[in-house]
Amino acid sequence: MTDTPIWKTLLVWAIVALSLAFAAPNLFYDRVEQHNDAAAAIEKAGGSATPDQAAALAQWPDWAPSGIVALGLDLRGGAHLLAEVKVADVYAARIDALWPEVRDALRDLRDQVGNVRRQPSPEGVLRVAISNPAGLQAAVEKVRTLATPVVSLTGLGSNDIEVSSDNGEIVVQLSEAERVATDQRTIQQSLEIIRRRVDEVGTREPTIQRQGEDRILIQVPGIGSAAELKTLIGTTAKLTFHPVARVTADAGARPGPREMLLPAMDEPNTYYLVEKTPVVTGEDLTNAQPAFDQNGRPAVEFQFDPTGARKFGDYTANNIGKPFAIVLDDQVISAPVIQSHIPGGRGIITGSFTVEESTELAVLLRAGALPAEMTFLEERTIGPELGADSIRAGEVAALVATALVAAYMIASYGLFGTFAVLALAVNIAMIFAILSTLGATLTLPGIAGIVLTMGMAVDANVLIYERIREELRAGRSPGAAIDEGFGKALSAIVDSQLTGLLTAVIMFFVGTGPVRGFAVTTGIGILTSMFTAVYVTRAIVALYIGWRHPKTIIV
């Protein structure tokens, strides 16, 4: 057998040692997890540890590798939601906000265009009629001056609105570039707000990811159910304060211009006609806390930022004695009468809340409102017991599979079979080491992938050993036969494994959830098995030959 350069052998053994070291924390999963949680909590608290945390921290040495594989929802239990953000909602709001501007701009041209009226139109389109048709061109030109360039990479050189004339009316809508830019912003904002809301509840390692154009994937381990998660993130939580025009019991009451009809949240058959334009909105809030009012009922205390505080102060000073509606997601929580000027921007919302509701509302108000509504396309809840059962089943299956494959390999190839089994053990350690270092998530199909890898990984060993047998039969010396076996089998090994790798890559990119978990472990398994079957087995064989100097070998 030709000698492999010493540095190569050392490198192989170094990689094996590192893999074992980085896979080891997974054997003490609970302990290392508690250690890591404690370490994170201590860092968050700025270095001070509670006795419990210190005890948890001491369970695992600081110098040792502490990466462990993250367990997927199907193994740990938790909730999974796929939400679609209704990005088009935002267009309508943008266009509605444009109307006062358009009106004011055209007022300057009154002698040319005459009277200006907003016409009924589909959502996201503003149609404006003018009484003097001759001035249409001038009006369109004037409205065009309101446009601002879109700031984005793709929409370079285009404006945010498109103004045209149709049937003697001015038509304003968002340009394609602006829609793309708006969508982008809406999704970013939604992601940020969902993240804040989930963080407020404080569960471990939530996954909040954008998927495709307008979707968000939310996975929260350890939460009781998808329904619970949905109430947390599915509420828009848009808080606004409106002047009240009238209170009525008639659900069919017709709101006047610039008014809207809103139902009361807790009183049936009570409706409020409120002014459309809010005085202040939740965007001006800096803080919200659950509290109790003077009668000891649960309430939410809030604090406005300076702009909000001024608007709120001015309005209350000018409208003492009038009712004022506090509106959450188009429902009136309460409509107190303004007793006095409220300076400083502090206030309290009372309604018929329970303590849980007031706490939840405070969380939602603090995290901010979602820019658009969401619909849920997919929901999954997996209980922690089912996850634990799955882990147990996976472990048993993996152990039995290892035993069967090992027994079969040793029965077929004797000592060389043992070498292959050692290489297989290294292979499994390497898979876990890589998964832990990458922070990849292990799922139940992922475990199946590892078990499958055990069965298929020995294929490379089989190819090599069969080749060695043939070379031995052809009358070569042990050393030469081993060299030839490893050398000639390599092409077949690479050929056969590449196709497996190819399908794993495709699964990873096309698949979702469970399929991805499977693709990750089989893909990594194929790569590591090529290394262990060829290099590690060879290093073990070299050790054996160097130690025993056998005259003949039996494979």
Partner: protein, 326 residues
């Protein structure tokens, strides 16, 4: 000589083409039967592809499918299927059932109210019942998933086809892909005939079968190419037999280890992934069969151009990557 377990004797001289018309006929018949079954019986799609909701129930009391059905019939949920689940790993007092509810008209995903109603109705029948998992997929996502799955299988086959074509002559690529299509179609056919649940994980299993089957075939082709250089005068049919016999022991060895690992998984791996493992297990068997009896037969039918070429010409030919010793 030390003891060695040998499923395949050291020297074999099996004529793999002896029954070639029968084996080929059986394969063609199996493919046609599978296609007919998929067309006329259809597949038992899981919620990944059809939309709807599955609820897993667990109780210390024996599952009474009739009582469950009765409890749910008043809710007006449309089509509800209830199946009891058995698994050797369950405790004696662990009784599990799977409920499947068709997608509700007008909703993307099932509403929490519907789930709460279902859970309340079942709790009335069996107070000890718990719900370890509730999954709901809307029709929008399920339609996309179907396309994604088809795309994945198509991309997988195309990738493999291109790869084999680059490495070998085109006849090999055709043979290889025919074997792959055979394996995938027959596996899907079995899922259709026995109405086993077909979901996203089964598609992953199909892709794995693609990878496995081609792995097996490529090893034989690799050796065949080597032998084509070595025995220039031997008729192609004999050469193929020689090659297959030479690699037979490896083919069986690898099939056996994979089979053993998957058997452990299907018995002990729990009911959640049983369908997935079954698809792979079946795929290993049929993949091995197609390697021995389908892929080569097609190459033999197509014939190979064995006129003498110099290495240089070969390198320039339509298989310029053939001589890479990776």
């Amino acid at each position: 000589m030390a003891f060695r377990l040998k499923l395949v004797p050291t020297e074999t001289k099996i004529d793999f083409f002896r029954w070639q018309y029968i084996t080929f006929g059986v394969s063609v018949a199996a493919v046609i039967l599978s296609l007919l079954s998929v067309l006329f019986i259809g597949l038992n799609f899981g919620i990944d592809f059809k939309g709807g909701t599955t609820i897993r129930t667990e109780s210390t009391q024996v599952v009474d499918v009739g009582a469950y059905r009765g409890a749910l019939s008043d809710l007006g949920l449309g089509d509800v299927s209830i199946t009891e689940v058995f698994d050797p790993s369950f405790r004696p007092d662990q009784h599990v059932a799977m409920l499947r509810i068709a997608p509700q008209e007008g909703y993307e995903a099932v509403t929490p109210e519907v789930i709460a109603q279902v859970e309340a109705a079942l709790l009335a029948v069996d107070p000890a019942i718990t719900f370890p998992s509730v999954e709901s997929v809307g029709p929008k996502v399920s339609n996309e998933l179907i396309w994604k799955a088809l795309l994945a299988v198509f991309a997988g086959s195309t990738g493999i086809w291109i790869y084999v074509w680059l490495r070998f002559e085109w006849q090999f690529a055709v043979g290889c892909v025919a074997a792959l299509i055979h394996d995938v179609v027959v596996t899907v056919g079995v899922f259709s005939i026995f109405q086993l649940k077909f979901d996203l994980t089964i598609v992953a299993a199909l892709l794995t079968i693609l990878g496995y089957s081609v792995n097996d075939t490529v090893v034989i082709f690799d050796r065949l190419r080597e032998n084509l250089q070595k025995y220039k005068q031997m008729p192609l049919r004999d050469l193929m037999n020689l090659t297959t016999n030479e690699t037979l022991s490896r083919t069986i060895m690898t099939a056996t280890t994979t089979f053993l690992a998957l058997t452990a998984l299907i018995i002990f791996g729990g009911d959640v992934i049983r369908g997935f493992v079954f698809a792979m297990l079946f795929g290993v068997v049929i993949g091995t069969y197609s390697t021995l009896y389908v892929a080569k037969n097609i190459v033999l039918m197509l014939g190979l151009d064995r006129t003498e070429k110099t290495r240089k010409e070969r390198a320039k030919g339509d298989h310029e990557f053939a001589n890479i010793d990776a």
